[in-house]
Symmetry: C2
Subunit: 257 residues, 2 copies
């Protein structure tokens, strides 16, 4: 990658390696791999009902990802950028050769015992899930294209989490094993996407200030992921108070599986 | 109020009294007067630090209210509607005669021991607060004007909650008593606003379906208020896990006051 020159009068641009290191530091501090809900999941301590609540709520996030990426597509003025970025929409919505990530997530939800129609209808999703996920749409609509691209960079961290999760889900919840296609596909998709987006951010941030805005967008995206797990933990683990109208774990599912 | 005639072929319009009853039923089910965080507050069981977290986070909500109302103003095509609605912007932003609701909320935050500058900067506000509050902006931007107006109708329920809260704050947290001007003003403002908005919704909903959309907007607004308290409870009461970067209660404030 070409070395960038300083074009900001006050602060030098971060080099590619410095920028990537700062992005990775954001992940170390804020990415949801350390969230207590994930820790319980990986220790095998979630009930089937809690995994249903997770799959149901996370479906809302999955369902807006290609909408988010379509907004980014609509903001790109360079055909080459749009050609590269549209891969993401295809990855999630599918094509003749592949069912796509949304269908794969539905299979995971079905493996927890939910009905696909129920999940797609979104009945019972936590309001806090909607608010956090909708903020992702707000960010890609209202900030610069650079920041919109940078907000995708949680993909820098997702492969390690997904590898661990697949191992732990198979170990602790073997009845879920048939529903892991989503994660299998993301093992290769996410690193490709992260590489493209990291290089894009480095090449298009014209000043240290713009680099800082990109880093902040990643921080905000991490907060969006973290807040979804906070809401799940509060509603379904401790103190286990789902808000009015939200999904309730059925008695039949309450035993640990 | 003139009697409305049925103009929907499938379902009869609700009468004014029926509509108001359904709106009140939403409040009974979902308004945050029953939220455990408020119950603790009214029982005198919150620490000064927990009240700081509440005042800090709620400031973000207060600060966007006149922005929300300005969006509604910008969508009203009738000068008479805008003349009536602009009262709300003045109530919160102030004028030559009145400091306005935002300044009054800052005084409350200062009474908890926070610095006004810290509160206005918004450092440490929970991401979940921002997401929930920003959803209020999403609603008034993206739904019909009728639904935007209807989403304000939590004011139907706020006077009773504010009356109770003022009594309980004075009783349990007397050091806060100098900061209650915000609530004092809302005791008269909120019922005026609720009356106007209820009549507006009744007069402008042209079908039962539109009435149902208005009721749903109120339900969604209740969820926005509820989710803010869920996030406060999770971060500062139980399990008391503020997310990365959020306000931390200082040791000096941790004793119950």
């Amino acid at each position: 990658m070409a070395v960038r020159t300083v074009d900001d009068k006050t602060e030098p641009l971060l080099s590619f390696d410095e920028l990537r290191a700062q992005l990775r530091a954001v992940g170390e501090e804020r990415y949801h791999h350390k969230h207590p809900f994930h820790l319980l999941m990986h220790e095998g301590k979630l009930s089937r009902g809690q995994l249903q609540a997770w799959a149901l709520n996370r479906y809302y996030y999955q369902s807006i990802i290609p909408i988010k990426d379509s907004i980014i597509l609509s903001r790109g003025t360079d055909p080459a950028f749009r050609r590269a970025w549209r891969k993401r929409v295809i990855d999630h919505d599918g094509d003749a050769a592949s069912e796509g990530g949304i269908k794969r997530w539905l299979k995971l939800a079905e493996a927890t015992g939910l009905q696909a129609e129920q999940v797609q209808a979104g009945t019972g999703i936590l309001p806090a899930t909607r608010f956090a996920v909708n903020e992702y749409l707000n960010i890609v609509r209202s900030r610069s294209l650079l920041e919109a691209v940078a907000s995708s960079l949680t993909e820098l961290f997702s492969r390690d989490l997904i590898s661990l999760r697949m191992e732990k889900l198979r170990q602790h919840y073997p009845w879920l094993s048939g529903g892991l296609d989503y994660f299998q596909a993301r093992l290769t998709q996410a690193p490709e996407d992260a590489k493209f987006a990291t290089e894009y951010v480095y090449q298009h941030a014209q000043s240290r200030k713009e680099q800082e805005l990109a880093i902040q967008a990643l921080r905000d995206k991490c907060d969006i992921l973290w807040a979804q797990l906070d809401a799940l933990y509060f509603a379904y683990v401790e103190p286990a108070w789902p808000p009015p109208g939200a999904f309730r774990i059925q008695a039949i599912n309450e035993e640990k599986q």
